[in-house]
Amino acid sequence: MEKIKVGPGPGPGYIIKEKGIFNLEKLISELKKWFNEQEYDFYEKKKKHKPSKYGNRIELKWLIERKIDHMVKYEMDVEFLIIDIAPAGEDLVSGKLEMVIDPNIILDYEDAWKPTRFKNFLMKLFKNIYYKDIIKKHKTKLDSEVNTVREIVKEIFEFYR
């Protein structure tokens, strides 16, 4: 199995930050709905809610993946950190939100080419010669899907409102 990073470095993926008033429930439900429509498998790896009289804190970690074919899988690690949350009206909360989307392409996710050194060597050859352009196309496609996710988020935050 090989993980190919998609998107700009140096750290993990794409970052969205918001400080103000926003509809958190709508954000989460719209994202889940989109992942479902795109036939992504959704796994909630972490959900931490710490209430406090000074403002609640929520940490979420999602793993979203989709198998493209027997060799390629798209994966997005999505992390939310929302702090100082307080109610701010109907369906709205005020607080600080930081969302990080880390997209990756997983090659040979079933490790079919791992067992022997010869198979591993063939896999490297295959990847560097035959599959190179195909990987590039997959990178572009996954990047554009991440862009769509980010547009959904920005739409909910009503950027430039």
Binding site: P8, K17, E18, K19, G20, R150, F157, F159, Y160
Partner: protein, 162 residues
Amino acid sequence: MVNVDIVEKGLVVQKKAKFNMVELYKSLKSWFDLHDYEFQEREYGEEATDKKTAKIGWMGRKDVNEYVSYRLPISITLKNYETIKTKQGNVVEGDITVKIGANVRSDYENKWESAPIMHFFRSVFDRIIASDKTQKYEKELKKDVHDIFHRTKSFLNLQKFN
């Protein structure tokens, strides 16, 4: 590890302006598309409290060949801005700072990092054997960065709203 040669540290446009942010985005994105750069929005942050602030990070990337890649990092900071409705649509008015850098990356796929001696040979190659080509790449990128810089300046200067 990739080798980074800085061509421009940061060309800065800073002014108090009234402009359509969506049009600025489209204008710069179309420049990237025209010049075959891949466009990525690395970071976007907004503080929508009493004084609004936004910070956006973009990256333009162009792989010239298997060894050399151009990068144009752009950072946009909007301070104390507000959104105003005009006849031409929603515009933002505030202090905008646009900083555009440029760097040439060689061996961006890390093919020459398997051993220290390979890294050494690569550096010798860049410095001595391919120095003319390196200068050509730097010149080309410098032209691109100045082009996008002037485009940004023109956009901010020419935007007029009622």
